[in-house]
Amino acid sequence: MDRRVTLAHGAGGKQTGELIREVFRKHFSNPEFTADDAAVLDLGTGRIAMTTDGFIVSPYRFPGGNIGKLSICGTVNDLACMGAKPMYMTCSFVIEEGFPMDELEEIAAAMEKTAAEAGVRIVAGDTKVAGKGQVDHVFITTTGIGALTEGVSLSGAKARPGDAVIVTGDVGRHGCTILLAREELGIDADVKSDCAPLSGLVESVLRATKDIHVIRDATRGGVGTVLYEIAEQSGVGVRVDQAAVPVDGAVGGVCGMLGLDPLYLANEGTMVVVAPKERAESVLEALHSHPYGEKAALIGEITGDNAGKVIVTTEIGTETLLPQPGGELLPRIC
């Protein structure tokens, strides 16, 4: 078989999982190495969470943000998903020769502003410049650590039958924004990335109740991918009510044109929260009272049957399997 890295390995679906399993986990495996969004470490001084994330996005500037804002949000949100308060970050840049300095500064300024909002400090960094054409403008990798909130224990393996499945916002906006920003499809729509640091949002949820089982950042691969990850890690099924999934009108229109499903499009400011059914109301209340959670919605439940699968209740009340996301997202005509 062809052993090359393909774009499908970067799409967040099944192949990405394979790449991590067969290359990285094989070599990096240790007791703290995590399948969740951040590792939890016991340094003898209280528990911390730690994670790292690389950012390549074309174009590096898009409606609603740029790669700098994205690089802070991604790592902050991964820490927040473990119930950690993000504290320190490092960042590493790979910059293409010839990249305009004032645009680099614009990126750095966005990082500063977003870090301040999230209450996190950038404490170390690294810069490399690659020859013209060796990278696409600029790549950023950020690493962050955060202090774990006492009494909170979150993991993709903790979903239980009967739990409520909640999304913290409308789905697919970031992925849709990037598709349109590439300007190759000739489609014009008023869609902005949902890119936002969600540590404050998670904090207010955890203030309402610490009895939460899973929080997952629905980035690459979208909510569909996250639901499959939870189903697999927890050994449960997930049932989603199609009509309850919040989708921005224009995102729906773009998806209709291109034959795509918003459930597979990336988010950078929307998470999936799984909590005991009796906590659903207070979680939703906390989300709705936060500016980043106004469109939060209960979209389904965890089931004991159909382990490892995501079942959708359709508009006509029938049940069907949500196809497992995989491969590159391709606009289709048929």
Partner: protein
């Protein structure tokens, strides 16, 4: 309001009034009730169109069907019926001839003899995904130093878009644009598929161009039954219910169940555009072999825009993987799960046959929705 809408509204109002006045449940069964309660002889229905296959799965319609109704998937996915040799030609254009190949996203992962377009892209070929053939012309106009080839696949629905692109290139003298044709037409395929099913669910968007005539004639002259179907839940359920009710008569039938989009005459401008730019030719369908006069190629006066001519492509005989049974799947002769490699050597990530590639391909739909 259109005349038809007005008629429907009057009918609806009349029915509601009767119901209210007589204080009874509506006597009429809903489409869904007709489908769920069907207990007549076994009925085999072929959804010709891959988008129908996809929507039927997405809407969970199969879960409503009694055992007496079997839905089989037909050859109506242009990606699935495109032969291996076509992918090989496209790969050769991109890798050896240095052309920028513009394609619908659907074709990217279809396996060729050696590799797919995705494979060629990983080797450095320039492949661009476009939403419309016209976008490829636009790109060619903006990059006169490059040779741009659009991969023209599709049935009557899609062919006018490719024909418009060629005509624009000629009118605006965009000489670095050409197309690689694999366009196909449906009527002869229906005849080739005769006997595969008791009734066809005709592909509504093909009929939007071709109209009712051909399908009506299939019922009247060849005894082939079918209905033109739309794509919403209501339209699909109604089309299935109409098939069930009409089948009870035992006579061949034809009904246009998608009149809000399909006119009896179709789209005359689209048909004459196809005739102006293209002419019929024999065409190879993956799995079905060569069906006489079921394909389209550029007419003599447009031959300069034919990539095969411009790049003097040699005749390429593609070699499909022998384990693959896509051909039988496309004819409804076997189910995807009957194939030896289905779900094992052949998955959406590593497709062996084209039916596993397109999300509307029968194999991909069966695999992703866990059907047997």
């Amino acid at each position: 309001m259109t005349a038809m809408a007005a008629d429907a509204a009057v009918l609806k109002a009349g029915r509601i009034m009767t119901d209210i006045m007589e204080k009874r449940e509506p006597a009429r069964k809903s489409a869904r009730e007709i489908i769920e309660s069907y207990d007549g002889p076994k009925l085999r229905i072929m959804e010709v169109c891959g988008t129908h296959t996809h929507e039927i799965f997405r809407l969970g319609i199969r879960s409503l069907l009694p055992d007496t109704i079997e839905l089989v998937s037909g050859p109506g996915c242009p990606v699935c019926v495109t032969p291996v040799g076509f992918v090989d030609e496209a790969v050769m254009l991109a890798l050896e001839k240095g052309a920028v190949v513009c394609t619908f996203g659907d074709l990217i992962r279809v396996p060729g003899t050696k590799m797919s377009l995705a494979g060629a892209r990983a080797e450095g070929a320039r492949i661009r995904i476009v939403y419309a053939p016209d976008d490829a012309v636009e790109y060619a106009a903006a990059h006169p130093e490059e040779q741009v080839v659009f991969l023209a696949v599709g049935f009557e629905t899609t062919t006018p878009a490719a024909a418009l692109a060629v005509r624009r290139a000629r009118d605006e003298k965009i000489e670095n644009f050409s197309i690689l044709t694999a366009n196909k037409t449906m009527p002869n395929a229906y005849l080739a598929l005769r006997g595969s099913a008791d009734a066809f669910l005709y592909p509504g968007h093909v009929n939007a161009i071709t109209g009712e005539t051909e399908c009506r004639r299939l019922a009247e002259e060849s005894g082939i039954s079918g209905v033109i179907a739309g794509f919403t839940a209501k339209e699909l359920l109604t089309a299935l219910a109409v098939i069930i009710e009409k089948s009870k008569t035992g006579e061949p039938f034809f009904v246009n169940c998608y009149p809000r989009v399909v006119r009896p005459e179709g789209n005359p401008a689209g048909l004459s555009l196809i005739r102006e730019v293209m002419e019929p030719c024999d065409s190879e369908w993956r799995g079905l072999g060569i069906i006489p006069m079921s394909g389209l190629r550029l007419r003599e006066e447009y031959r300069g825009y034919d990539a095969r001519v411009r790049f003097a492509l040699p005749k390429i005989e593609g070699r499909p993987n022998p384990a693959c049974r896509c051909g039988e799947v496309l004819q409804g002769k076997c189910r995807p799960s009957d194939c030896r490699v289905f779900g094992k050597g052949c998955t959406p990530e590593h497709p062996v046959g084209a039916c596993m590639v397109s999300s509307e391909g029968a194999c991909a739909a069966y695999y992703q929705y866990g059907a047997k």
